[in-house]
């Protein structure tokens, strides 16, 4: 894993080992392994509900991990209460104490601190005394912290008289005044307006440089993460998708989720005939990636700014401009090339309806291993010769399990040799292709029901992941646009369900 070279030598300050977190049996964070180096600015990035805030809260001590360990400088702090951790948090809604003024808020942490001093008592025994910090020292430190956040002279102000941005700064001052080893920031800029947010991003980054404290930052804003971080941890669905520098994450996304979540992207399905060559959109392109098997299906990511518009005769792809939208520094252009819709960012705009040629340079093409080629489940044959899998029940053709077999009137399977078999409760492996599953609004129409938890546009179709109540996932491709969280039932045609016997497999081993 490539990391910032300056940081590479510094020690791991915090390490998460096999961290899992369940809430009432629902898994929120799954098997998380991660380390953060001293002085690093690391960002947990992901959509809401991906477990990033929960992870941060576990580091702060507000939540205890269900299993796994959190190591701080090599020591296990998993079960230490928050007040004993050398970590401070900047909360999403600041959580400034409304009954205290600015000074009292910032000084709160310092007033809790006790310094241990050893002294000799009258009898000559060595004793340890815990002493409060002297008032003058507290005042001095608060003053300094307020200077850092640019709010000198605000000591006497009450919290309710401050603007959102000022409250934000006080929240930061309240945390950094304690000189924590790690500063945790939970979407701290979420409540600010865009301009303020951009300013604070740069300020936070500068502050990080100046203070040298490790920052762990949580956000769902990919631009914020790219701007500020040394390292980004992309999370989805309670698991880490990719860890890397902003450049790595943007230029070499590990999977379609990362590519889709970070920045704009065109995602195509392609094949790799050989290293340095990839076919998608029905054309052959040169690329820089390799290491795949011959003709392996792959996902191809092309950033909109890497697609160049050329005169028709010079383009590899030809298509019609369907939409041009002015976005400030560039135009967002959609070009329909046959079945594929390609998004382009360019500073010059063609006219809608024009036919244009498109070229993509080799370094603009990023090839990724395909995550989902086929849905695989383990299932059980029922009495009625249907198959139960993935939290549902589907009709299927059981005769495919034994070549040349057929069903008699009572539903028993007669093999080619004439043997009569009862298939009830036989365990099978089930495979269904992405394109063979369709969705329906009618919950009774399909064999299983679930909510759409993810959708990614892949230039010719949308790739959906549907999750059932018992957390079975179906991956499917569909040209129609559904919404995330839609409740759908899943239809799989009888002849598209491929079954193989599990016993046979076991026997071979």
């Amino acid at each position: 894993m490539k990391k910032n070279t300056a940081l590479e030598n510094s020690a791991k300050i915090i390490e998460l080992v096999d961290i899992c977190k369940d809430f009432d049996g629902v898994s929120v964070v799954e098997n998380m392994n991660l380390y953060v180096r001293k002085g690093e600015f690391i960002t947990f990035l992901g959509p809401s509900g991906c477990g990033k805030t929960t992870t941060l809260r576990m580091i702060a001590g507000f939540e205890l991990p269900t299993s796994g360990k959190i190591l701080l400088n090599g020591e296990d702090i998993s079960h230490l209460p928050p007040n004993l951790r050398p970590v401070n948090t900047v909360f999403q809604k600041y959580a400034l104490f409304p009954h205290l003024n600015v000074f009292e808020n910032v000084a709160f942490g310092l007033k809790q601190k006790r310094i241990e001093t050893t002294y000799i008592d009258k009898k000559g025994n060595q004793k340890i005394k815990k002493e409060k910090l002297p008032k003058a020292l507290i005042a001095e430190k608060v003053k300094k912290a307020l200077e850092i956040v640019d709010l000198s002279g605000f000591e006497k102000r009450s919290i309710s008289t401050l603007s959102g941005g000022q409250q934000q700064r006080i929240a930061i001052a309240r945390a950094i005044v304690n000189e924590p080893e790690i500063l945790l920031l939970d979407e701290p800029l979420g409540a600010l307006d865009l301009k303020m947010r951009k300013e604070m991003q740069l300020e936070l980054k500068a502050m990080h440089k100046r203070l040298g404290i490790t920052f762990i930052y949580v956000t769902h804003d990919q631009e914020e993460a790219l701007t500020m971080s040394d390292t980004i941890v992309v999370m989805a669905d309670g698991a880490i998708q990719q860890i890397g520098t902003p450049e790595m994450i943007y230029n070499e996304p590990k999977n379609t989720f990362v590519a889709d979540f970070i920045g704009e992207s065109n995602i195509f399905t392609g094949v790799m005939p050989k290293d340095g060559e990839v076919r998608f959109c029905g054309k052959k392109f040169e690329c820089l990636d390799g290491g795949f098997e011959k003709d392996e299906p792959v996902d191809v990511v092309v950033r909109p700014e890497d697609v160049k518009i050329k005169p028709v005769e010079e383009g590899i792809l030809k298509g019609k401009v369907t939409s041009v939208i002015f976005k400030g520094i560039h135009y967002q252009i959609l070009v329909q090339c046959g079945r594929y819709e390609i998004e382009i960012q360019s500073t010059s705009a063609p006219t809608v309806g024009d036919t244009v040629g498109l070229v993509i340079k080799p370094d603009g093409i990023h090839v990724m291993k395909k995550e989902f080629v086929v849905n695989k489940f383990s299932g059980v044959i029922t009495k009625r010769n249907t198959v139960e899998f993935g939290d549902g029940e589907f009709e299927c053709d059981v005769t495919q399990l034994y070549p040349g077999s057929h069903l008699d009137e009572e539903g028993y399977l007669i093999t080619a040799k004439g043997e009569k078999l009862d298939l009830t409760d036989v365990e099978v492996n089930v495979e269904v292709d992405l394109h063979d599953i369709t969705m329906s609004d009618d919950p009774d129409e399909g064999g299983a029901q679930g909510h759409i938890i993810s959708l990614i546009y892949k230039s010719e179709y949308y790739r959906y992941i549907v999750r059932t109540e018992n957390e079975e996932d179906y991956v499917l491709a569909c040209e129609d646009l559904w919404n995330e969280n839609d409740f759908v039932s899943l239809i799989v045609p009888k002849d598209k369900i491929r079954l193989t016997l599990k016993m046979a497999e076991g026997g071979k081993q």
């Binding site: 209460p81 928050p82 007040n83 401070n88 104490f97 009954h99 709160f108 809790q112 309240r174 304690n178």
Partner: protein
């Protein structure tokens, strides 16, 4: 545009009229009548006689006042009110805190347990309590027991009025404040003292005024539970009024009013609470 705005403003003012009339008829007018009766004699002339009577009943000047029946009654009332309030607070705060912080889904059901007794007629409940004291043998046993029983009765009657406001303020405290306190190094006990307690001050103040002031005047409790042997300020007024001594009674009512004013002022009841009481103040 401006016209509609003004009209809207006007109609908002109109909305205040019913309440204003109510206030005038049932709060301001009676107060003025009390004031009038306190400082006039039977013929309607202004007089300070009743004030003199109150402070100098025995004719020995102010020195006599401090040993007078009126003064003793006031002191007894204050003591009973103070103790009732204190006991209520000591019981109500932990109860409210535990209900607000418990992990049960139906907190309101738990809260209902403390409120349901209010649905039973109050006189009935006090009578039942009396029977309990009789059974225990503490009923009208001695002067001390009478005071103790009165305090128990007051606490029994007013406890829900203390629990409810405290519960509402505690439940409204954002959990992130507590987390922030712990994050900044405060132990759970420190976090409670420095954050939860000050933030629930509004509830405590409102609870105190809901218990302290009524228990100065609620002589039903003291009458029933002490065989009319403990007299509080409310009973004093009642005695004068039932004895047709309207002027004397009115003056004592004024004194009581003074205490209420003082109590509200001391507990900060007149402070404008920015978070809860900004609406409506601009109407007047």
């Amino acid at each position: 545009m401006t016209e509609t705005k003004q009209r809207l403003h006007f109609s908002r003012k109109l909305l205040a009229i019913p309440y204003a009339l109510f206030l005038l008829a049932f709060v301001i007018a009676p107060l003025l009548i009390v004031l009038y009766y306190a400082f006039t004699d039977d013929s309607g002339k202004f007089t300070l006689y009743y004030m003199k009577m109150f402070f100098n009943e025995s004719g020995e000047g102010l020195k006599g006042f401090f040993t007078s029946y009126n003064f003793k009654t006031i002191m007894r009332s204050l003591f009973i009110s103070f103790m009732s309030t204190l006991v209520c607070l000591i019981i109500a705060y932990p109860v409210a805190y535990i209900i607000a912080h418990c992990k049960l889904k139906n907190k309101s059901t738990l809260l209902l347990l403390f409120i349901v007794p209010m649905w039973v007629n109050f006189v009935l409940r006090i009578n039942a309590l009396k029977e309990l004291f009789v059974w225990l043998g503490t009923y009208n046993k001695s002067e001390t027991w009478n005071v103790v029983n009165t305090i128990i009765g007051m606490v029994y009657d007013f406890l829900p009025f203390m629990i409810l406001p405290i519960y509402t303020t505690i439940i409204k405290i954002d959990k992130s404040y507590l987390e922030a306190a712990k994050d900044l190094g405060a132990t759970p006990a420190k976090a409670f003292l420095k954050v939860t307690l000050p933030l629930s001050k509004a509830g405590i103040v409102s609870g105190i005024s809901m218990v302290f002031l009524p228990s100065m005047t609620n002589y039903v409790v003291s009458n029933y539970l002490t065989f009319r042997n403990v007299k509080i300020i409310g009973k004093l007024i009642d005695d004068y009024f039932t004895g047709d001594l309207w002027h004397d009674g009115s003056f004592i009512a004024l004194i009581l009013l003074l205490f209420m004013f003082l109590a509200t002022w001391l507990t900060g009841g007149f402070e404008e609470d920015e978070q809860t009481n900004t609406r409506g103040t601009s109407l007047w």
